[in-house]
Structure formats: structure tokens, C-alpha cells
């Protein structure tokens, strides 16, 4: 059976709109990649659109020679891992304990936790706390304050609540203690959700910018987003490049170097993206339905 003409027209329109949406998403990224791979004279002549003109790796070489960019990537990776580790430990502890209906004070604790979703101190009280804790300009200011996201906690808690009791009951029969039950029974059964929540924490830490802007002063402790912000918006934070590359005493960084920095900072996310996306869709749907 052949499909009717209106039907085929409809399909063509749908495919066309979908393609336009995809192009709109992808074109800016392609443009920046092209700019990062083009020579400065081509850029000044407004010749670069989606394809590199006068192809050169100069910008990447300049970034590579400025060790601070590489350092920032390494440092941010380590910081993200540390944050994710701390966050997962605290979140799992809280979610597992609060998933036990027999626990005294469970409702009161949950109320105390949920209240913080609706009301918080705000920027200045948060800042003063970090200052009083002597955490300003240390990695802890980025690792600890966001260690439990209430949203993630609720998703984890409802997952634990829905695990069948029979597993734990039979483990108790076999003489397993509390620690063994958590480590050998509950956590292995929860691996997919643990992976998803870890990614939630890791991506929001990796992409986090605001708290670094507020709490971090030393360039050596800039996470990648703050570093990139200084390069792209303020044209600073790349000593070597500014001294060597710009030439003519210009205070502005060449556009190609800024573009290369954007690409550079996106690579880690793009590399893990296919995998990331799958987990995020799943996790968001669980949260969306629960929430």
C-alpha cells in the first residue's frame, strides 16, 4: 500500500523541521571549532563560517604551551571526583537510613530536609559561612557545600524504599550484619541508580561556575569554568599567550584562542556525552515522575 500524497508531504515537513532544529543546535558548535582552527588573518577578514580557513593548530599549541589550562582541566577532574565521592557517600547514607519506615524521627528529618529546598540563606549568608569556616579560596568551598542535593536524595530514597524487603530479610537470616547488608546486598542492587545520581553530581560540579566565582580567588585554584570565563569574557588568565601570542601589545586575546579554549573545555563533556545522555534521560524521568 503506497502512502497518500498529504501523508508524504507531512513526513517531509516533519523531517525538515527536525533537521532545522538539529542544525540550529550544531552550527554554533561547528562555527567555534572552525574559528579555533583558522588563522587570525582569515578571522579578521570575516571569512570563517563553518569550515576552517587557512587551517592552523596555532591556537591549540598556544593553549597547550600555557600549562595553566591543562592544569585547570586536571585539577577540575580531581575536584569533581572528590565532590562526587563525598556527595555519593553522604547521599547514600541519608537516603538508605531514611528509607527505613521503622526509623524514629524519620518524618521530622525529612521535613527538615525538604524545607531547605524552598528556603535558604542566600548568597551572602552562604558566603559568610564559608568565610567563617576558613574555606574561602580552598577546594573545600567547591566540594562540600553542594554535597547533598535534596532532589537526588529523594530519588535515591524512593529507589531504596521500593527494593523488596525479602533480600534484606534473608540476609539477616544468614547472619549478615547491617554493614554487610548495605554493602553486599543493597548497593549492588542499586548500581544503575547510583551511576545516574553520580553523573548528576559530577556534571553539575564540572559545569559549576557561580560558587567558584564567589569563593575562589587564586588563579591556581580556578576550576575550568571560571578559567574559561576569564579567558573568553575578560581576555585574561592566560599569561603565556598574552605575552607571546597576541603581539603588538594588544590587550585582547585573539578570537581563535578564545574559540580553542571553548572547544578545549567542552571536550571532556562531549567525550562522555552519549553515555551521559542516556543516564540523564533515565534519571530525569524517574525524578520527574517522583517529583
Amino acid at each position: 500500500m503506497t502512502r497518500s500524497l498529504p501523508d508524504r508531504l507531512f513526513d517531509a515537513t516533519v523531517a525538515f523541521i527536525a533537521t532545522v532544529a538539529v542544525l540550529l543546535c550544531v552550527v554554533p558548535i561547528l562555527n567555534v571549532v572552525a574559528v579555533s582552527l583558522s588563522s587570525n588573518s582569515a578571522l579578521l577578514g570575516s571569512k570563517v563560517t563553518l569550515w576552517p580557513v587557512e587551517f592552523t593548530l596555532q591556537s591549540y599549541a598556544a593553549l597547550w604551551s600555557d600549562k595553566s589550562m591543562i592544569w585547570s582541566l586536571v585539577y577540575t577532574s580531581g575536584m569533581t571526583l572528590l565532590h562526587t565521592g563525598v556527595a555519593m557517600a553522604l547521599s547514600v547514607f541519608a537516603a538508605y537510613a531514611l528509607s527505613k519506615k521503622r526509623l524514629r524521627g524519620r518524618t521530622a528529618l525529612m521535613t527538615m530536609i525538604v524545607v531547605t529546598m524552598y528556603f535558604g540563606g542566600g548568597l551572602i549568608p552562604d558566603y559568610l559561612l564559608i568565610r567563617d569556616l576558613k574555606m574561602l579560596d580552598t577546594v573545600w568551598a567547591l566540594v562540600l557545600p553542594g554535597a547533598i542535593s535534596v532532589f537526588n536524595l529523594i530519588v535515591l530514597k524512593s529507589f531504596f524504599t521500593n527494593l523488596p524487603d525479602s533480600f534484606e530479610e534473608s540476609a539477616v537470616m544468614d547472619g549478615a550484619n547491617d554493614v554487610q547488608i548495605l554493602l553486599r546486598i543493597v548497593l549492588p542492587l542499586s548500581l544503575p541508580i547510583l551511576a545516574t545520581i553520580s553523573l548528576f553530581y559530577a556534571v553539575s560540579r564540572w559545569n559549576g561556575f557561580m560558587d567558584a566565582l564567589f569563593y575562589i580567588n587564586s588563579p591556581a585554584l580556578y576550576p575550568i569554568q571560571l578559567k574559561l570565563y576569564q579567558i573568553v569574557v575578560n581576555s585574561t588568565a592566560l599569561d603565556v599567550v598574552v605575552n607571546e601570542g597576541a603581539g603588538g601589545g594588544s590587550m585582547n586575546l585573539p578570537e581563535s584562542i578564545k574559540a580553542a579554549a571553548v572547544v578545549f573545555a567542552s571536550v571532556p563533556i562531549i567525550l562522555v556525552y552519549p553515555w551521559l545522555q542516556k543516564h540523564f534521560v533515565k534519571g530525569t524521568l524517574i525524578g520527574g515522575i517522583k517529583g
Partner: protein
């Protein structure tokens, strides 16, 4: 046996309380101590004597805020940007989801989804970098294209009203694709029998969308809309801060960035805290109100 369940036994649950120890410390320290810190909005705060020892001075900060022209401008900007996000931005994910749902080839559908979700995973700094590059006045991609079409260059980021339009458009670019997932998930729940019956009755695909898909999505649409209305007075920091610049300050300065400027840059801690408190109280009332409305409409509210 069931009786022991109800009884309190610290010995039995000692492990659970041990697990709760650090999380409770976390919530008290990082979430409740700053709530106490809010009191500096009502104090003549002196950074050397600290929050406790500083003297109360009542509503002085609020009187000062409400007497400045800047404050009203900042509130206005926040509301204008959020309302535009809601009115202009809201239909896009729905429209995209309807389109994606009609794509016939499964493979192409997957590819489209993967690519339009991508911007959601880029940080605002990266998005800002893309925007500065693509929308640059002279050498930016869009202006190169405009000029080659014989049109005049557009100052996307340095002219106030243009900046507002850019802000909204960039928001759509970053979030419309990702915004489709709840709609798409809801669509998979629509019974295929409905579509089959409509097809037998000779309904066109266009009619099937309007008569089946959209009505089935109404609860989700209403819920998401109401939730976004609840957030009209609160605005994120990264997006306006990163896209903004001094030339468009009259349009781009919003509550979050204003609190940062007044508080951390000018070190007027108590004034900034008072602005933040004003916002979170108004925001709280609006949020609870809309949540209550959502629940009354038979939808599930946020977080029960």
C-alpha cells in the same frame, strides 16, 4: 513479631543513626546556619564583630532598598526576562516534541534527540563563549551571513532590547531540546488504540495530533506551566551574568546579579542579604501558591 516493629530500639537502629550523623551535620551547617545568617538583613552588620554581636537596626536596610531606583529596575528586569522565557520559550519544547514524535524513521529520531539534547549539557560559560563568537558584531557567523544577504549588521549583545531578545533566544537554544523529554515520555503513555481508531475513522495525521496527542498531554503541560509560573521571581545567576555586559546593564541587571554586585563587589553585606531575603520570601509565597493550585487541579504537586 509485628509488635517489635513499632517499638523504638536504638540498639537495633544504631547503624542507621550512625549513617545519619554526617548528613545531619551537613544540613545543619550548610543549610540551617545560613538561614540564621539571614538576620544580618536586620542588623547594622560589622564584619569584624560578626553576625551575633552586630546591632539590630530593624528595617533600615529595607527602607534603603525600597528608596533606590535601581532596585525597581532590577525587579522589573527579572520579571520581564522570566515572563518572556515563559511566554516565548514555553511552547518550543512542546512543539519540538510533537515534531519528533512524528518522525517515522527510528534511527533518525534517535539521532535528532541525541543532538538536540546536547546544549543542555554545556555549561553557561561554554554557551556564553559560543554566543560571543557566533553573534559577534563584525566577525560573528550570524552577522557575516546577514551582510552577505545585503542586510545590516545587528548588535545582538550591546543594544538593550536586542540583548533581551538574544537572552530569550539563547535560553530556548540551550533548553528547548532537553525540555522535550517529559513530553515525549508522556506521549509513550498514550494508548496506540486511540490512534488506530482515529485512523480507521479517517482522521488525518494533523487531526490525530490535535485531537489525541495534545489533549493527552494537557495535564503535563498545565503542570509544567504552573511550576514555571511559581519560579517567576527567582532567576538563575549564570545565564544573565555571563550573557550580560556593562553596555546593557539597564536591561540585564537582575536580582541575582545585583545581590552579587552589592554584596560581594561593594561589600554591603546586609543590603545584599535584604534584597535576597525579599526575593526568596516573595518567591516562596508564589511557589507555594502555584503548587497548591497544581495540586487542586488534580495534578501531583512538586515534592509531595
Amino acid at each position: 513479631m509485628p509488635k517489635t516493629k513499632a517499638r523504638f530500639s536504638f540498639r537495633r537502629d544504631a547503624f542507621l543513626y550512625l549513617l545519619l550523623l554526617l548528613p545531619v551535620v551537613y544540613f545543619v551547617l550548610f543549610r540551617y546556619v545560613p538561614m540564621y545568617g539571614v538576620t544580618i538583613a536586620f542588623k547594622d552588620f560589622n564584619i569584624f564583630s560578626g553576625i551575633w554581636a552586630s546591632d539590630w537596626n530593624g528595617w533600615a536596610q529595607f527602607q534603603e532598598i525600597f528608596s533606590t531606583r535601581e532596585f525597581y529596575q532590577v525587579v522589573r528586569n527579572t520579571l520581564v526576562l522570566n515572563v518572556l522565557d515563559l511566554v516565548v520559550g514555553f511552547p518550543f519544547p512542546l512543539f519540538l516534541a510533537l515534531v519528533i514524535n512524528e518522525v517515522r524513521s527510528r534511527r533518525y529520531k534517535k539521532t535528532v534527540q541525541t543532538l538536540i539534547y546536547l546544549p543542555h549539557f554545556l555549561s553557561w560559560v561554554i554557551v556564553g563563549g559560543l554566543v560571543l563568537q557566533v553573534l559577534a558584531p563584525d566577525k560573528g557567523l550570524v552577522n557575516i551571513v546577514l551582510k552577505s544577504l545585503g542586510m545590516a549588521q545587528i548588535d545582538f549583545l550591546t543594544n538593550g532590547p536586542h540583548w533581551v531578545a538574544t537572552y530569550v533566544a539563547v535560553g530556548i537554544w540551550q533548553s528547548a531540546g532537553w525540555g522535550t523529554i517529559l513530553f515525549l515520555a508522556a506521549m509513550t503513555g498514550i494508548s496506540p488504540e486511540l490512534y488506530e481508531a482515529a485512523e480507521v475513522d479517517g482522521a488525518s495525521r494533523w487531526q490525530r495530533i490535535w485531537k489525541i496527542t495534545v489533549p493527552s498531554l494537557t495535564p503535563v503541560i498545565v503542570l509544567l506551566f504552573v511550576l514555571q509560573v511559581g519560579r517567576l521571581t527567582s532567576i538563575s545567576f549564570d545565564r544573565p551574568f555571563i550573557l550580560g555586559n556593562p553596555l546593557v546593564n539597564d536591561y540585564a541587571q537582575v536580582i541575582s546579579t545585583y545581590v552579587y554586585d552589592v554584596g560581594l563587589k561593594s561589600m554591603r553585606f546586609n543590603i545584599a542579604t535584604a534584597v535576597g531575603l525579599f526575593q526568596s520570601l516573595v518567591g516562596l509565597v508564589l511557589l507555594l501558591l502555584t503548587n497548591w493550585m497544581a495540586e487542586r487541579n488534580g495534578q501531583e504537586g512538586i515534592y509531595k
